[in-house]
């Protein structure tokens, strides 16, 4: 049993390292060759873990080979668009101003129901709302709605809004994130002031405290409703 435990740990570390090496894209939107890689890795890893007579190297060597192959394919895809199109395919327009392109849908081995499902997932329940729909290489659908159905933006209404930027999490689950506190150029005193304003007595009672560049603070204590208020703009802070 100890052998299996040690082998599992070794393989886990190797796979963790390999996934880090492949970059974050592997975890999110996968291209076809990345999906293949993920499926094979999962299968390969279990063989030496369960079978003691098989050396760990029998599991690790194919993993390393696949990662090297993945790296080479990624590199070639970056260099050559033709190669990239061959490996990952091309985005395909499935709905254009003339309506549904059934031939394109058939070429993708999809049905109209699949397209409708993807459109609903994007928030469009009627085909007439869609100007263009493009099936991306990672299998997701991108939709450009017709102007009549596009959401109204501040730009359309000519409303000037100060950019808030990405909020910085200062407190998370009762603990100050020192790195973010430094990034926001705030002090412990500022945090205490915000806690006082939200009537949260102790730091450990605070579930979350975040502030954006415009100084808009979001704070919530455990078991309490959140509050927002204007603190002070984070001038000179670069994210």
């Amino acid at each position: 049993m100890l052998t299996i435990v040690i082998r599992a740990i070794v393989i886990y570390i190797v796979i963790l390292f390999l996934y880090r090496l492949m970059g974050k894209r592997q975890l999110g939107e996968m291209q076809p060759f990345e999906l293949v890689l993920t499926l094979i890795i999962a299968d390969l890893a279990t063989i030496p873990m369960a079978e003691i007579s098989v050396p760990v190297l029998h599991g690790i060597v194919p993993l390393l080979t696949l990662v090297v192959m993945h790296f080479i394919i990624t590199l070639l895809s970056r260099w050559s668009t033709k190669f990239s199109n061959f490996v990952s395919g091309k985005p395909v327009i499935v709905i254009d101003p003339n309506g549904v392109d059934y031939k394109a849908i058939k070429n993708l081995n999809l049905s109209l129901d699949d397209i409708m499902e993807s459109l609903r997932g994007e928030g469009y329940f009627k085909l007439e709302q869609v100007e263009y729909a493009i099936m991306e290489t990672n299998g997701k659908i991108s939709v450009l709605p017709k102007s009549n159905f596009a959401p109204v933006t501040n730009g359309d209404l000519k409303i000037k809004v100060q950019e808030g930027g990405v909020p910085i999490n200062i407190v998370s689950e009762g603990k100050i994130i020192a790195e973010n506190l430094k990034l926001a150029q705030l002090s412990r005193k500022d945090v205490d002031m915000m806690l006082d304003r939200a009537k949260i007595k102790r730091l450990k009672d605070c579930l979350v405290l975040a502030i954006d560049l415009s100084g808009e603070a979001y704070i919530q204590g455990y078991g309490e409703k959140y509050q927002t208020f204007k603190f002070k703009p984070l001038d000179g802070v670069k994210l």
Partner: protein, 134 residues
């Protein structure tokens, strides 16, 4: 190039190096181990033909050497190949020793032939060849 890109590039080169090293080492080790078994078997066969029996110190010495050499190589091979695939040679070499003690010429020769056969067969399925790839 960013730090991560450098890390990625260096890691891939290291992995490539590791792969080449493992592949070469496996090939060399398998060939060396099996050639050594075949060599000892041929020597035992020749000595048997010369002496006309197994009850002599030279055959005992060669069998000892064969066993010692195989045990040493088997230990290293276990890092690279499936243990189950190579255990038959070890079992058959142990039998050789037992037949030697019993002075059973017939069984000894049969076992020796088996060891030779395994060494030849293993070379086929453990080495890199188009048959194995396909």
């Amino acid at each position: 190039m960013t730090k991560f890109k450098w890390f990625q590039l260096i890691s891939i080169l290291v992995l490539l190096g590791v792969l080449v090293y493992v592949v070469v080492i496996e090939d060399v080790l398998v060939k060396e181990s099996l050639d050594s078994v075949s060599k000892y078997c041929l020597q035992i066969e020749a000595t048997y033909a010369q002496m006309g029996g197994i009850k002599n110190s030279e055959i005992v010495r060669l069998t000892d050497n064969l066993e010692y050499s195989w045990l040493k190589n088997e230990e290293r091979l276990c890092f690279l190949v499936n243990h189950k695939s190579i255990q038959e040679i070890g079992v058959e070499i142990s039998r050789l020793r037992s037949y030697l003690e019993k002075d059973d010429d017939k069984e000894f020769c049969a076992s020796l032939n088996l060891v030779q056969l395994y060494a030849e067969q293993y070379n086929h399925f453990m080495g890199a060849s188009i048959h194995n790839v396909l």
